[in-house]
Subunit: 133 residues, 2 copies
Amino acid sequence: MFSVSARTQYAIRAMSCLATRQDRSATSAELAQAESIPPKYLEGIMSNLTARGLIESERGKNGGYRMAKDPAAITMLEIVEAVDGKIKPVTCVDAAGACALGGNCHPRKFWVGLKQTIDAYLAESTLKDVSEG
Amino acid sequence: MFSVSARTQYAIRAMSCLATRQDRSATSAELAQAESIPPKYLEGIMSNLTARGLIESERGKNGGYRMAKDPAAITMLEIVEAVDGKIKPVTCVDAAGACALGGNCHPRKFWVGLKQTIDAYLAESTLKDVSEG
DNA sequence: CTATATTCCTATCTGGATAGTAGGAATATA
DNA sequence: TATATTCCTACTATCCAGATAGGAATATAG
């Protein structure tokens, strides 16, 4: 229950690896190698992280990725949302009455609270914290 | 991300429904009807809840289910664990070194913290709270 | 003792999401 | 021109949650 996707785990490992490199830069292939992540799969993940502005990319020869911010300024919530989208325990979490039950949906408040709880935890954990264990 | 299984949602709805009935009892078929849950699927869920001791069952004609405790004494954590098992963000959450990374797994502490955060939220929400919205 | 209504058990099917693969286009360097 | 990279799109495979089916066990009523 509530298992974390491989996608998110890969993203965090790759980011940690990148953050702890001298110069804080590396190619996707290097990160895949270092963290035992399927290389082609990681490419797509890296693009997500770039789109979100957590890292910066350089194409072509001698290209690769580098940290766009200090690891202490990057939260786990940003990483998770970048690769897997927003936390959504139930479909109606951001739209009351979206489920088949309509307005008569008592549990909704509870699920919204769960989302907020998870979001808060992820937002207060930084990449620096996690990569240092 | 972090979506809640239909199984757990069904369990909570069925429990809420049962809790708010006069006499706090009903058959599986009645609950399925009232909450628009596939009847045969609900049967298995009800068995899980019975095994956990949250409700009591009576077989045969005039049989059915009844609350085993006060709804204020039943937590969401109990219901979730009864039907979907323990919260487990990552496989290594209760066994350090269980993953391919071995002991060199910095993120583990973070995932364990997430589990504890979710567990705590679920444990402080009672069936009474949720069924009343 | 038979008919009926229920929980309980086991096995099976299925669709959709997740994980991973493939091929190449765009881009940068030398 | 050759090479190394990110980036884009499409495809395939695998797995599991969700659901279904059939019937065994059990209790009640007439």
